[in-house]
């Protein structure tokens, strides 16, 4: 039987599942919308993997993304790793010469600076989502176009308009203003791409030394308009890895391979997990003034995990 390693990235917008082989080649990838229901979507995803590759042996599982602990409880992960490390590992696997990783996802964006194969600096967007995919999604909706068309339309522009990109709310009103003036749609779209990149470079990437090779990962890397805006503003070539949209999951899978090698066996609970009944119930603890929101996850009637408490009295 062939050995595969599974990587799962549970993000705010998408949940990605990948399988890689011993040589880190991608053999399966699935990109699902999280839709605020990570557990259900994850079970769906696992069912799909089982239907297609249920006969194969999963030798290791790694989880990442903001839902990594939840996913780990459900699936029995061998390694639970933060997104920064996972993205860096996948980037280095794609190109060992990588020195800068730009990552823009649904609700957050990051920059990772790598020198000689190790992460030396990183940053994530703080309290603003103006430089992320959700922002583009919303504006595409307003312009009445499909987000997958967005990038191509931007490339047709000859005269991008200048749109204030500092804040999503202001960018929107600025954009409406430009529409009312009668600018072409492609110029506005291109202007939006430039605004997003400007925002990213002056917030997330502020003060960082962006040296080549530069990789661009995350869902937004599909957008050719953004890619071009980066190339124009940085004056550097931007590389987009083949599986740009699932790099976090690939990194987690690679890590799980290393961990299992040391430990000898995987903690994977098997493909059956999609058949079981999982329930999440919130508990408001009134034990003290912190008033923690505790989440309890049950598998059938067994309590799998509880978390969210500051003091640990709800932990199992």
């Amino acid at each position: 039987m062939v050995n595969y390693y599974m990587g799962i990235d549970v993000g705010s917008v998408s949940t990605n599942i990948v399988l890689i082989d011993e040589e880190n080649n991608l053999v399966y990838k699935r990109y699902l919308r999280t839709q605020g229901k990570p557990l259900v979507i994850l079970q769906d995803g696992i069912r799909e993997v089982a239907e297609e590759l249920g006969h194969s042996n999963i030798a290791g599982v790694g989880t990442t993304g903001s839902g990594r602990y939840l996913a780990s409880v459900l699936i029995g992960a061998d390694v639970v790793k933060n997104e920064i490390t996972c993205h860096a590992i996948a980037a280095l696997d794609y190109n060992p010469e990588t020195r800068t990783v730009l990552e823009i996802g649904g609700q957050d964006s990051k920059i990772i600076i790598i020198r000689d194969g190790i992460v030396v600096d990183f940053a994530m967007n703080t309290v603003c989502a103006a430089g992320t995919g959700s922002f583009l999604d919303r504006q595409a909706l307003r312009l009445g176009m499909d987000i997958s068309e967005f990038g191509n339309i931007a490339l047709n522009s000859k005269n991008p308009v200048r749109i204030a990109g500092r804040c999503a709310v202001f960018a929107e009103s600025d954009m409406i203003h430009k529409q009312q003036l009668g600018h072409n749609q492609e110029d506005i779209v291109s202007g939006l791409c430039n605004a997003l990149v400007r925002n990213y470079l002056s917030n997330v990437a502020k003060g960082k030394d962006l040296q080549p090779v530069i990789l661009f990962q995350g869902g937004v890397a599909a957008n050719k308009g953004i890619r071009k805006a980066f190339e124009d503003q940085l004056g550097q070539k931007i590389h987009v890895p083949t599986h740009y949209d699932v790099m976090g999951a690939i990194g987690a899978a690679i890590l799980s391979k290393e961990v299992v090698k040391d430990r000898g066996e995987s903690r994977f609970k098997g493909f059956d997990i999609y058949k079981r009944d999982y329930r999440v119930s919130p508990i408001d603890c009134n034990g003290c003034s912190n008033i923690c929101e505790i989440l309890e996850i049950r598998e059938d009637d067994k309590i799998l995990a509880r978390y969210g408490d500051k003091c640990g009295k709800w932990s199992l």
Binding site: S66, K81, N82, E83, I84, T85, D108, D116, I118, V119, V120, D121, F122, M124, T126, V127, G207, S289, N290, K310, C311, G312, K313, S315
Partner: protein
């Protein structure tokens, strides 16, 4: 801070003591504004703002008298000495927790001992019972099984004093890092503050003065709050062989924003990883935990690499 006050008032406190300042930071306003807010909420407590000694001896002594209810200078001296002892013991115990947690085989056990201690600490009465509790807790901590020959990553927590000592404000950064096996130390504690501003007045403590000196090439004058201390502390941690530093920045704190921009240069010049964590009222901890974990990964990889090559 208002939350801290209300908590204490509900537990029976009738007087609130806050330090004041006429420095360039807006902190000097806090006492008066908080008094106004508390009155508005209907809390009837005595609020005493103690300004720094250099801003007037007479008021200082008057306020101290009010706080300590002492009539002669010897009583004041005795109360101050006792208070200082308690603060020192409590700070030392917190650091012992940090140390033990980093080395402990079972980190949850350490957390349990700490929760138990904090729970009991609010219930004991008087100084001697508190000291007894601290003695007992130290004993229990010493018995926790530790990893021998473990060489933990060492990270200094730097920033404005209140944010770094209040676990609720900084998302329990000490505990979280300790659970990852990191040895943590805070650059400022109540003990250190008192050593600098009261005990060794007007000369300042050796450690804090050293920080000013270290910060000098980057920042010559005070910028209010603990901006200058933050920079000096970062360099001090580097000199003491720490692997990295984390700055806790309360959103819109001016002195720390100044420090943040300067820390970039410190980090580059000294080849010393420094991360800034911005804290505000957002309670979503996911992004915060991700950054901490990624920073610990970064620091340990650097160390691995140095030991090989």
């Amino acid at each position: 801070m208002i939350g801290n006050y209300i908590e204490s008032i509900e537990r029976g406190a009738d007087t609130i003591v806050i330090t004041g300042s006429c420095g360039p930071c807006r902190f000097g306003f806090y006492g008066l504004m908080q008094e106004d807010i508390l009155r508005g909420l209907g809390y009837d407590v005595d609020i005493i703002v103690i300004d720094a000694l250099r801003e007037g001896h007479r008021d200082f002594i008057k306020n101290v008298r009010k706080v300590t209810k002492a009539n002669n200078i010897f009583d004041i001296y005795r109360s101050a000495k006792l208070a200082l002892k308690l603060i020192k013991r409590a700070d030392n115990l917190t650091q012992k927790f940090n140390y033990t947690r980093a080395y402990a085989v079972d980190k949850d056990k350490v957390n349990g001992i700490m929760d138990d201690y904090l729970d009991k600490a609010v219930k004991v009465h008087g100084a001697s019972e508190l000291i007894e509790l601290i003695d007992k807790t130290e004993g229990i901590l010493s018995a926790v099984k530790l990893h021998k020959d473990y060489d933990p990553i060492k990270i200094g927590i730097i920033g404005e004093i209140y944010t770094i000592i209040e676990p609720f404000a900084n998302f329990e950064v000490e505990r979280r890092l300790g659970e990852l096996g990191v040895l943590v130390e805070k650059s400022l504690t109540p003990t250190r503050w008192l050593e600098q501003h009261v005990i060794n007045y007007p000369f300042g403590s050796k450690d804090e003065n050293l920080k000013y000196k270290l910060a000098k090439p980057y920042l010559e004058t005070p910028v209010g709050g603990h901006g200058r201390e933050t920079i000096g502390s970062a360099i001090h941690y580097k000199n003491r062989g720490y692997d990295g530093a984390i700055q806790i920045l309360p959103l819109n704190c001016m002195p720390e924003i100044v420090a943040k921009s300067i820390l970039k240069n410190v980090s580059r010049d000294l080849d010393f990883p420094i991360m800034t964590l911005v804290v505000d009222e957002m309670t979503g901890e996911a992004g915060y935990v991700t950054r901490l974990e990624a920073f610990v990964d970064l620091v340990s990889k650097r160390r691995e690499k140095r030991s090989i090559g």
